[in-house]
Symmetry: C2
Subunit: 397 residues, 2 copies
Amino acid sequence: MNTSELPLAPWARRLAPSAIQDMLQNITKPGVFSLALGLPAAEMFPTEGMAASAASVLAEQGSALQYSATLQPLREHIVALMAKRGVRCSPEQVFLTTGAQQGLNLLVRLMLEPGQSVMLEDRVYSGFQQVLEPYQARRLAVRTEAGTGIDLDSVESVLASGERPAFLYTMSDGHNPLGISLATEARERLVKLARDYRMPIIEDDAYGFLNYEDRVLPPLRALDEQWVYYVGSFSKILAPALRVGWVVVPEPMVFRLATVKESSDIDTATFTQRIILSFLDSGRLEGHLTRLRHEYRLRRDTLLKALEQHLPRGAKWSKPSSGMFVWVELPEGADTTALLSRALETERVAYLPGQAFTVAGGRSAAHCMRLNFSNCEPARIEEAVARLGRVLVAAQG
Amino acid sequence: MNTSELPLAPWARRLAPSAIQDMLQNITKPGVFSLALGLPAAEMFPTEGMAASAASVLAEQGSALQYSATLQPLREHIVALMAKRGVRCSPEQVFLTTGAQQGLNLLVRLMLEPGQSVMLEDRVYSGFQQVLEPYQARRLAVRTEAGTGIDLDSVESVLASGERPAFLYTMSDGHNPLGISLATEARERLVKLARDYRMPIIEDDAYGFLNYEDRVLPPLRALDEQWVYYVGSFSKILAPALRVGWVVVPEPMVFRLATVKESSDIDTATFTQRIILSFLDSGRLEGHLTRLRHEYRLRRDTLLKALEQHLPRGAKWSKPSSGMFVWVELPEGADTTALLSRALETERVAYLPGQAFTVAGGRSAAHCMRLNFSNCEPARIEEAVARLGRVLVAAQG
């Protein structure tokens, strides 16, 4: 069948099989040393605990597999988790979602009118740009730096020029793709800008619980409960295939989220929500998080040390205190998109090119790459970076 | 916080906590004899098989909880299931979703341009109207009858008048709320109309595998693979809280579905998809379906017999060969919406008023009600109908 005969809305007709999907096929081939994807370490999943929880849920709860209302005790656990991030909220402000991605999607559906503008950093999680796809939203891209994060002078000057975006999307900890966490003053100034200009912030905190230093700052939501819409997830701290996340929002948003979720995939307590509730009830999360932070800290340090050792002069990179990613900037003129095929062919090593994270595919990050440190074991990280170093040195020479 | 201060798109601002949600709270109170909701029987869930599958998935598959690509073997099982419904398709035409509801949602996102019209029956699954909510779609409601289903003369005259809806949404088996399954000739004529007028059909077959008579007709998709977009689900044949469904579509739709699903909730093989795959691999579905059909047939027959016995003269109802629902029409002038509170107060019995299923809440079904027969055990169905009969007799007197 010819695509032109498909009954599609015009924007859907323009969709093409993504170049990234093609690239992913190469990246995920067996034998490739991949620092490319944002995958947690599967060998760290609390599989036994999950198995025990699944078994007990099925044995003890007659209606575990039935449609049923939202799990109040799970929302109470999330309130306690949020308190550990320094956020005060009530169970009535917590709404459960199919992972953080659905949280982002539902918030955008409720908040964004077609034709309105939105504010984004010019290095941004590509999955968020996908959420915007059907809305034809004008994208106000503001500068962001691997060392300090979102450029607040840019934010202020865009707002002062009279722009009124539907919201700003940002990550204050373990930024994807930069790895940066904002300083205290930056958090305070950003929230003040949101208040002064009445601009909502969608704060994506998917990585906020993965922090590796003694000093952890509370997210933006801790500074303002009216203008900050918080999105969290169990994908990175328990496991992605459970598909459970949450949002923390002003209470009058919750029934609206329930309405759009019901039309999206039925607002029902899922089996995996019950497994997570049982796992949290068993008190096993704290120990699991401690082990996870320990291991990921080790992997981050291994990556940073290997970069020092193997990357050619002129390369710079972020030193993340949270999350899963390091952002590498090669000297201007380097082309990491073109280099990726060579890296795969000659050294079987993979990363994601900076261009995957720019607004509307712009070339401003053509000399950058994102490296992941959560997925591979330390020895494999070392080997991957040695290979990457050889590719980069060869390209310079 | 005042709702007027929330940063909402205009359509989202207008959302109100639904009257149905309020009603559901009363309906689901303990002690109520409820024939209201479309719930499967929780005591029939294959809980032990699910527990065995969950345990084996976690014990044997190291990456069961990781992000990972769609499960080809599960799509192959679905091809085999579809063959039992008389549908020929390939695994490349099958796309896995978070329940049938997400299948509907994703198809509508791809197919419907804001401002376009859509064709619906004037008794229609309320969850589909929710899917349409953000699009401001003009709704072309066509007549539908409890005895024969969608009125094809109406469909044809709307199309002949020059209307070109983005699609027609319909159910050919176990219609929700009517309980009707279309006759062979109606299926053929409907598909011919779709072809002649180049109008896609979204066929919701959530109930198609729950059939109770020897003669089962293939769904519309068996008659046309270009114009019929098929939506199926494990919610009613295995369990809803697993949240796994599928669509069968022309192959060039699949990467587009993957793109919008990725932006909705990440297109990843979920833990519950793996559980279902393991359950299907174990060969237990066929026996489970046989038991389910046997039990639901018994419950249907119990309901139909009790209606004969207890409903006052003048009431008529459908005799479903598939699905979970019987549609009751009282004499014109009856008001089932008003009657529901009395039914709950005096007899603690519940149903869904016809008005919940009309297009845009119209009053054309004010004298109708939907009764479910899958959720309650036979003795409870008898008691519920005896109670309902007393309410209706009292209302007539």
